[in-house]
């Protein structure tokens, strides 16, 4: 069993009317099976409302399964005594950088997690400095988060999670509210963490470009995992992806169109260089 495992996971949001009677039930997750190996970079793709954020919240014991089970590092999320351990193992970064920074100073915010865990003061300092170094934000440690850019805020949020020394980080659309520059900053930081620190990364996103570096990609639609494979395998199935309302990166799309019009270009082109090489080999 990997570091994270979900079996037949079902989650239902129950909507009630003013009198407390059940109005309607919305099934956000419908029988999801997932098994994630430690050290992997996983991308979970899906359009809005596909259930991907609900899945993310299950991996951190914020939501409890209606049916089925989730294990994080071998611990069942349903047992209340496991909750704190699970949250130490799986850190979570949310979409809106403003709504997850608690303190009025960068270093104090990074310290929030370890403080809650009861880490001794001396060690908190070391952890804070190390985490800020990892996301290249050490120069801003005394700044107020309000004065930072979106990308910088999100990197602070990542540092705040890293200071808890989790084995795994779940990022729930961390770049959705950022400009292209901030998006790149955050993605670079996440990739570096995965490569140099072997932190397991679960990236939830609807930007397909961010998934090309992933070891494994899951595509969700209607609360179910509909596609699963390496980035190259998934990106080769352009038509299928579009049916799930995801738009493939332009380069992949271009390669696909060229292939459709009869050129012998391989499936699953991920970046410009690959396409260039493929075109050069044509003649």
């Amino acid at each position: 069993m990997g570091i994270m495992k979900a079996a037949k996971l079902v989650h239902e949001y129950i909507h009630r009317d003013d009198d407390g009677n059940v109005d309607h039930i919305e099934t956000a997750l419908n029988g999801v099976d997932l098994d994630i190996e430690a050290g992997d970079f996983i991308a979970i793709l899906g359009h809005n409302g596909s259930g991907k954020s609900t899945l993310a919240k299950h991996l951190n014991a914020i939501l409890m399964p209606t049916e089925g089970t989730v294990w994080v590092d071998g611990k069942n999320t349903k047992a209340p005594e496991n909750t704190l351990d699970i949250r130490k193992t799986a850190g979570m970064v949310f979409q809106n950088p403003d709504n997850q920074i608690i303190a009025g100073m960068v270093e104090e915010d990074v310290a929030f997690g370890p403080e809650n865990m009861g880490v001794p003061s001396q060690e908190i300092w070391q952890r804070v400095m190390r985490s800020l170094n990892l996301v290249h934000m050490e120069a801003y440690k005394n700044h107020s988060p309000n004065k930072l850019s979106g990308g910088q805020k999100q990197r602070v949020a990542i540092a705040g999670v890293l200071a808890m020394q989790p084995k795994c980080i779940v990022l729930d659309e961390p770049t959705a509210m950022l400009d292209p520059e901030g998006r790149k900053e955050v993605m670079d930081a996440v990739l570096e963490l995965n490569k140099t620190k072997q932190v397991t990364v679960i990236l939830i996103t609807h930007y397909m470009e961010e998934a090309i570096h992933a070891d494994k990609v899951y595509v969700m639609d209607g609360g179910e995992i509909v596609m699963e494979g390496t980035a190259r395998e998934i990106f080769a199935r352009v038509q299928e992806l579009e049916n799930h309302r995801l738009s493939v990166p332009q380069i992949t799309k271009l390669a696909h169109e060229l292939k459709c019009s009869g050129l012998p270009i391989p499936d699953g082109i991920l970046d410009e260089e690959e396409l260039m090489e493929a075109i050069c080999h044509l003649s």
């Binding site: 919240k57 951190n60 914020i62 704190l84 949250r87 130490k88 850190g91 979570m92 949310f94 809106n96 403003d98 709504n99 997850q100 920074i101 608690i102 303190a103 009025g104 100073m105 270093e107 104090e108 310290a111 929030f112 997690g113 370890p114 403080e115 809650n116 865990m117 009861g118 880490v119 001794p120 003061s121 908190i124 300092w125 804070v128 005394n142 700044h143 107020s144 309000n146 705040g160 999670v161 808890m164």
Partner: protein, 266 residues
């Protein structure tokens, strides 16, 4: 105008005042507030001004920054001045038909304006030089004894620090919503006071909804980072009195003494 409110904002700098223990600064602010309402004459006022000037100088925060906080209470200041000027009893100084300005009135309005502005400046020295976290840490530790009478000190401190952190964010949001509503023809400027209040509804409703959403997001983010109340929590910067803090207490005590002596003598 909304951006001018400096209360609750931190000004990063390295100074003696910045490095003081928050409990000292809290006590200092309290003593200063008491002294502001104690003084009634020019000498007391001079001592107070000297003390305030010393604090501002030591804090290295630009004076301009502190005065900016006053802009937010400008209306209150003017109102206080006018009311005191017009409705104070005593010796008549000038009189135009029904408007009667008395000597007492001039003094009262002058003192009230000085008191209010010193109050704001004095407390903003505290908030500008102390991060909200440290400030609430100071309160939490300074008021810890209340825990015995079942006052949830940690929870209150946490709520305060979050409130302070979100002041600038909500300000920005208000600005944004205001502009968005103005772009769609909302009018916040004209009309009498009742119409103006009514015109605020399209501003307040979205602001409240956004604040609730933020609150629930934040609660989730805090939980995800293992927050489970004050129990078993450690601190990155535990509060400990240094040599400097003892000296500062000495200065404060001396200041209080001077104020009391002045009050008694004069």
């Amino acid at each position: 105008m909304l951006r001018d409110i400096t209360i609750g904002q931190y000004y990063p700098e390295k100074s003696v005042i910045h490095s003081l223990d928050p409990r000292v600064k809290l006590a200092g602010a309290l003593i200063f507030i008491v002294s502001v309402f104690l003084f009634e004459n020019i000498i007391g006022f001079l001592v107070m001004t000297a003390f305030l000037a010393m604090c501002i100088k030591l804090s290295k925060v630009p004076f301009k920054y502190m005065v900016k906080g006053l802009k937010a209470i400008l209306v209150i200041l003017i109102l206080t001045a006018v009311l005191n000027l017009l409705w104070s009893p005593g010796e008549t100084l000038v009189q135009f038909s029904f408007i009667r300005i008395t000597k007492q009135g001039v003094y009262n309005s002058l003192y009230m304006v000085i008191r209010l502005s010193y109050l704001v400046i004095g407390t903003s020295i505290m908030t500008l030089t102390t991060t909200p976290t440290r400030l609430t840490d100071g309160m939490e530790k300074g008021l810890h004894f209340l825990n015995r009478c079942k006052v949830p000190v940690h929870e209150i401190a946490m709520m305060m620090s979050i409130a302070l952190r979100f002041i600038p964010i909500l300000m920005e949001e208000t600005d944004k919503i205001m502009k968005a509503q103005m772009a769609r023809g909302a009018d916040f400027e004209s009309g009498n006071i009742f119409q103006k209040a009514k015109n605020m509804i399209p501003l307040l409703v979205p602001l409240f909804v956004a604040a609730w959403r933020r609150a629930s997001d934040l609660a989730m983010a805090m939980e995800a980072r293992c927050y489970h109340g004050g129990e078993g929590r450690t601190k990155m910067k535990p509060l400990k009195y240094q040599q400097m803090d003892k000296k500062a207490y000495g200065v404060l005590f001396f200041y209080l003494l001077v104020m009391i002596v002045l009050k008694v003598i004069l």
